[in-house]
């Protein structure tokens, strides 16, 4: 766990065992999960289907009881209730009472959150406008599309102006416009100083908006930290574009830096390690070239994610082989 006094979510060695059926042996879903979320950040909790993302979130929300370990939100144990005044939660594929209108359901959640009549009258219409449902406020929820329900879900999570918001697969099943809208909402929350914990398996969204991520595979955290932190120094690359080159310079640079060179018109583009950039630029400028651009090349989170999943799979295969070996 990160040593930081401003952690709003702290999970330490969280274990969850399930009994799949009556009389069957217990199955371990979470194997000592640990991570922490700092105040004001967007934290992506990433993993393939069945990795334990939703189980972890349910344990944090107190919907299931952990078999071991600790989980604290805003310094309170998750089995307590009082800290819930300061958190909001959007479950995966949220379902709401279809017989209520958008205004009625938000009023219901506002009452549960302890808002008095005056605050409810002000907060509910304000929030409906905020999530773009102002005109649909008197429509029954059973007539809403998935995207609209997702926005109702976000609104109910925010109705009491919480400090920390937990979102379970907030973009799943949405079209590109819906995804962008939810992304914008999340970024707006961050700009208002709120902490967002987001469960997802859509990596591009995580890459775009998350400050830090944890990758969970088969109930174990494989990585936690900034995306950049996952990479070896050698993995950090930059794309440099130079123009007006002396004819032989491209070949020299290619040989010296082992860079991949691509010619585009009168320019060349080189991909080099980040630590080699200043040396390359010095050489190029000395030789009379002009620097057009230097762009840090971000290694895709997908690469890290796939690596984590494949490491886990090969680990499993190794274990399986070992077990077979023991039997034979």
């Amino acid at each position: 766990m990160r040593e930081n006094g401003d952690a709003v979510v702290e999970v330490l060695d969280l274990i969850k065992d399930y009994r799949p059926g009556f009389g069957l042996r217990r199955k371990r879903i979470l194997h000592g999960v640990s991570f922490s979320v700092q105040r004001g950040e967007i934290y992506g909790f990433v993993g393939p289907n069945g990795a334990g993302k939703t189980t972890t979130l349910k344990a944090l929300m107190g919907l299931i009881q952990a078999s071991g370990g600790q989980a604290r939100i805003l310094g309170c144990d998750v089995s307590e209730n009082d800290f819930r005044e300061h958190i909001g939660f959007l479950p995966e594929n949220p379902y709401f009472y279809g017989y209520l209108t958008a205004r009625e359901i938000l009023d219901f959640y506002a009452r549960l959150s302890g808002l008095d009549g005056q605050r409810r009258c002000r907060r509910v219409p304000e929030l409906l406008e905020w999530v773009g449902l102002g005109e649909a406020s008197e429509s029954r929820l059973r007539t809403f599309s998935k995207g609209m329900l997702q926005r109702v879900g976000i609104a109910q999570a925010l109705v009491h102006d919480p400090e920390v918001v937990f979102l379970d697969e907030p973009m799943s099943g949405l079209d590109p416009i819906g995804r962008k809208e939810i992304r914008d909402v999340i970024l707006r929350l961050k700009s208002e100083g709120k902490t967002v914990f987001m469960n997802t398996h859509i990596l591009s969204d995580v890459e775009t908006i998350c400050d830090r991520v944890a990758i969970i595979v088969e109930g174990r955290i494989r990585y936690e930290g900034r995306i950049e932190d996952f990479l070896h120094e050698d993995d950090l690359m930059s794309d440099v574009v130079l123009s007006y080159l002396p004819p032989e310079l491209g070949e020299i640079l290619e040989a010296k830096f082992g860079a991949r060179v691509r010619g585009v018109g009168g320019r060349i583009e080189l991909r080099v390690r980040e630590k080699q950039v200043s040396q390359l630029l010095r050489l190029g400028l000395e030789a009379g070239a002009e620097v057009v651009s230097v762009t840090p090349h971000r290694v895709s989170l997908e690469k890290i994610f796939l690596e984590a999943v494949s490491t886990s799979s090969s680990h499993l295969i190794r274990n399986e082989s070992a077990r077979k070996g023991e039997r034979s």
Binding site: G62, Q65, Y95, Y97, L112
Partner: protein
């Protein structure tokens, strides 16, 4: 600790859900219809037609109230878990026990509302046919309302940890056994078998004594009803329901909502 500011929104929303449920209207319509049909059945008899009307009326009110309580009650918690509406509710600052009590009170208000509608139909039919109405009828219907306090608590209790099918079987089974528990106790005492007498005494203590809420015979025949026949069942119903809700809350608290 149960805080009413958390319980009340759940209760009122449960009533609102029932009011917008068309199946309940159909049940209520059918119940009122049966009370009206009593007039036709009574006309087939040469004697005591008014008594038959009131007998059938009170019996149908009892059965339909039970039906509505069980029909709505057994799916009360299960439905919330299945539809996952409970996830967002329990993320708010209310405890599971407050949620459970809210659902219970909401269902109780719903069945009382339906009971009031059936009572109006019963009074209308009695007045139309000239059947006598007395304080005994008010007592009978009031005690039926208190019996529903126990039935709804039973349905809520079973709904907290079983499927609607099992919850309805258990609730109906205990309703039947609850109406026979006095007879079972008497049988045990008269059997001369010590172990059977002991078992029947325990059964009588454990099962709800639902016959305590039945003063229909006195009401229809105009017999006097003692004050203790009213006050003790009211206290008994409240005590029994509170015990059931505490047990339900305890079980529900430890349940994983998958």
């Amino acid at each position: 600790m149960i805080r009413m500011r958390h319980v009340w929104p759940i209760a009122t929303n449960t009533v609102r859900e029932a009011i917008r449920n068309k199946v309940l209207y159909a049940l209520l319509f059918f119940a009122v219809g049966v009370i009206g049909v009593a007039v036709v059945i009574a006309s087939l008899s040469y004697v005591e037609g008014q008594r038959i009307i009131q007998d059938i009326g009170l019996a149908s009110i009892r059965l339909f109230s039970l039906g509505i309580a069980v029909f709505v009650g057994v799916g009360l918690i299960h439905g919330e878990v299945e539809r996952r509406t409970i996830y967002t509710i329990l993320s708010k600052p209310l405890s599971r026990s407050e949620f459970l009590v809210g659902k219970y009170l909401g269902l109780l208000m719903t069945v009382w509302l339906q009971l009031a509608c059936m009572m109006i139909a019963f009074v209308a039919v009695s007045l139309a046919t000239g059947a006598p109405l007395s304080g005994g009828h008010v007592a009978a219907l009031g005690l039926l309302g208190m019996e529903l306090v126990v039935i709804v608590a039973l349905a809520t209790f079973f709904s907290a940890f079983t499927s609607p099918l099992l919850a309805s079987l258990f609730t109906l089974g205990i309703w039947g056994a609850g109406h026979l528990s006095r007879d079972l106790y008497a049988l045990g005492q008269q059997s001369g078998n010590e172990s059977f007498a002991g078992a029947s005494t325990w059964m009588y203590r454990l099962l709800p004594d639902l016959e305590a809420f039945n003063v229909s015979v006195q009401a229809v025949h105009g017999l006097p009803i003692a004050t203790s026949e009213l006050t003790l069942p009211i206290l008994y119903a409240v005590g029994y329901a509170v015990a059931l809700l505490i047990a339900a809350g305890w079980i529900f608290q430890g349940r994983d909502l998958k």
